[in-house]
Symmetry: C3
Subunit: 331 residues, 3 copies
């Protein structure tokens, strides 16, 4: 294994294997497994969990890590091919990434959507460039349309909670003051489908996920014996739900157009998860969210502070599954 870019690159059995390795490393720590190994971490975007959990994960396996944050302590990096670099960026990723890769044994890169051209982001244009520039094992720490570490952690969380394979899993749009990327909803949708769940995407009109994203999830569901549907009728979606996965995202119809998106989301702030959402859900239905979450905007205190919320467990599982990924890539 040389890349951890997308759960779709692996078979279901390979994912189950990775999850088993995660459990094994938890039960039987291997504090010297990555002794002498170095992980380079490049953050084109801010981070809390990802930074801390990767550094902690390497340390728990006996390795070490360094962090590069373009724009903070390191100059900005140019990403456009053939650019005439007379602006703010002092270095091109065509130099920066191979150089950093040459200093370490594996590289993790976070680079959110460019949010200008939907097709470019769907094609993971930037991350494919990174991929081509890195001759070391590479980890996607969130790209334009993916967040495989989060997806794997969430899969483990569902397993830990004994959520049945075919249970009803509602991925619901929730309110946020501005448009956010599609990486987590796309990755979550695909993960739940690949796990074999009855997945329903609930979102207001205008916030349907791109057809490509839906099709990829449907293909995964078909293989795993699950299903993927979508609706703007939140109440119906929640009927019999075992899991509500809340996530904020921008309208694909107005991709990169902040004003048009803002007009579309104005008035949708009742899409803030409250206890009332769970009226017709299963009694012990869970609330999942990848974090960070805006309290009382995306999810109300009453839910985050109540027994349904498993968001801290999801976050802890980031560490647990990433250690398995690091072990697989480097041990």
């Amino acid at each position: 294994m040389n890349r951890f870019m997308d759960l779709a690159d692996f078979s279901r059995e390979e994912i189950l294997d990775l999850l088993a390795l995660a459990q094994s490393l938890k039960d039987h720590p291997q504090p010297r497994a990555l002794a002498g190994k170095i992980l380079g971490l490049v953050f084109f975007n801010s981070s809390l969990r990802t930074l801390a959990s990767f550094q902690a994960g390497m340390a728990r396996l006996g390795g070490s890590s360094f962090v590069i944050t373009p724009g903070q302590g390191t100059w900005q990096l140019e990403t456009r091919l053939n650019a005439i670099m007379d602006g703010a960026a002092a270095e091109h990723v065509r130099e920066g990434i191979p150089v950093l890769a040459s200093y370490c044994d594996a590289l993790g890169v976070r680079a959110f959507a460019d949010f200008k051209n939907l097709q470019n982001d769907l094609d993971e244009k930037f991350f494919k460039m990174i991929d081509g520039l890195c001759d070391k094992p590479l980890i996607n720490m969130e790209s334009a349309m993916n967040h495989p570490c989060q997806a794997l952690a969430d899969w483990r969380t569902l397993d830990e909670l004994h959520v049945p394979q075919h249970a009803k899993f509602v991925l619901s749009w929730v309110y946020h003051p501005k448009a956010l990327p599609l990486a987590v909803p796309a990755a979550t949708l695909h993960m739940a489908a690949m796990r074999g769940m009855e997945v329903v995407v609930a979102r207001p009109e205008g916030f349907a996920l791109p057809a490509e994203v839906m099709a990829k999830a449907r293909a995964a569901a078909a293989t795993a014996g699950g299903s993927v549907t979508e609706t703007s009728d939140r109440a119906t979606a929640m009927k019999g739900a075992e899991v509500l996965y809340a996530k904020e995202w921008g309208s694909p119809l107005h991709y990169g157009d902040a004003e048009a998106d803002a007009r579309l989301r104005a008035g949708l702030n009742d899409w803030c998860v409250g206890e009332r959402w769970f009226t017709d859900a299963l009694p012990d239905a869970r609330l999942m969210h990848c974090l960070p979450v805006r309290r009382n905007v995306a999810v109300a205190d009453e839910v985050l502070d109540g027994p349904r919320a498993v968001v801290r467990r999801e976050a802890l599982n980031r560490l647990v599954v990433q250690m398995a990924v690091l072990h697989r890539l480097l041990a």
Copy 2:
């Protein structure tokens, strides 16, 4: 030991024990004592000594650490309970702190005074929230009203310099262009009182420390056989002094009111420590300061560059005593 929040949480004997452990770790290094252990460091405010000494201390004991700096590489964290999070902060400490705690074996947090409501800061409202959110050992790396790592380092410095237990210790207000928090003066005052010293607080009119702070120090002095008095007469305070501890702080009378504080401190810039301050002090009287110090504003070059100044030794002792704290919490 699961918390290092305030010297007042410990008996005099426990503090002496910690200081003995610090000396022992200096004399007999234990380079693998914390092998495999991870310290998480969260800085809501800037740092030089604290960051470097905690990372170095963990490394010297064989452990490792990660650093999170909300607002720099990590988004801002909301701290208000029940906030409707539609502003700049993307995540609440109610998620952030437990998640980071779950990645490490001990957490250090720096969070200066909110500087809005004096009673809230005296009550350590924010740090108590952090305390309640962290199920791992927790270290106060400076809070609204405390800085126990600095206080412990200063205690050790006094011992190293063979300053007698009951010697005269003057904590003096010194000039700074703007109001600074009360954490270090409060912690220093309490430390010197707990050590049993004859403590005099010298400060201009309007800069008396809060009654609660004085009362806490007086209680400690009573137990240790020392005393605590205060005066605005600097010359009298310095008579027979063995130690001058210089510190900048804001007026508790105008807490959170920068303009009123500025009017009060205008004209007080002769409160910059010079050699003339020591005319009636003991011949070898020392100058202490927690750093950072503004040269020729709070303390003149002639003192900082002369034999009285022991500020670098205090700073080195941060490392020495924090290693004892880490050892006690984690070994």
Copy 3:
């Protein structure tokens, strides 16, 4: 060895010894050589390679490191002697540097030219102050007029490429939107001269390097049996060249005067390295650059992406030679 400040502080034999140690550590890794050792890294200026390669190098030798970045997570540090510190800087390097040095076993410092007074920068006024404040081994991670880590890495790169000792080495000025410091051109010129090469400095009128810099290189060339000349005739310079080392720098005639420098460089953007530059060079002539490089401004894509460019190898050699420096200072 207690300082790594300037290749000129060492004899040719000592440099060859260091390079041999670098090769030896590559062939026979010593993953525990610096176990328990701590490197402090202080960046007054931004970094990518230097930060990552020093942290990785320490880790590969079993040691660890911490990073302090004044202005980012740490307050600004005052550098002027006798300053009345009532401005933005909260701490003086006279406290900051000795304190940080006391926490670690060796200190690396990056501090670019002040770019106000040429003679002060030529005298390395600031770095000499740092030198005087640091009682631990000290590494120059780029100063006003030097970059010995880069120079040593480039020497190794020339050796690896079997570039003959006396081959023609052209250091050419290339375009950049604004004036950059003289550290790398000065260090590169001296390195190539010390290696014994036939060095030609090609630069437009007004961009001649300071006489002191040229004289120092000529002295090194004399000892090593090489030569140093300069010209504004790029085509002649390139005749028979085996290596083109491209570098951007500001006009010493208008040092610290951004506007006058800008007028001088206006119209010089044909000083962007393209394949046409190599018409009369040796067939396999190489393109070197310390990075970061602005593509299509300083060097064209066609060269950076072609077989001449060895910039990534130079960057990797930063790690390789710095491990030798760290080993020599700390093992």
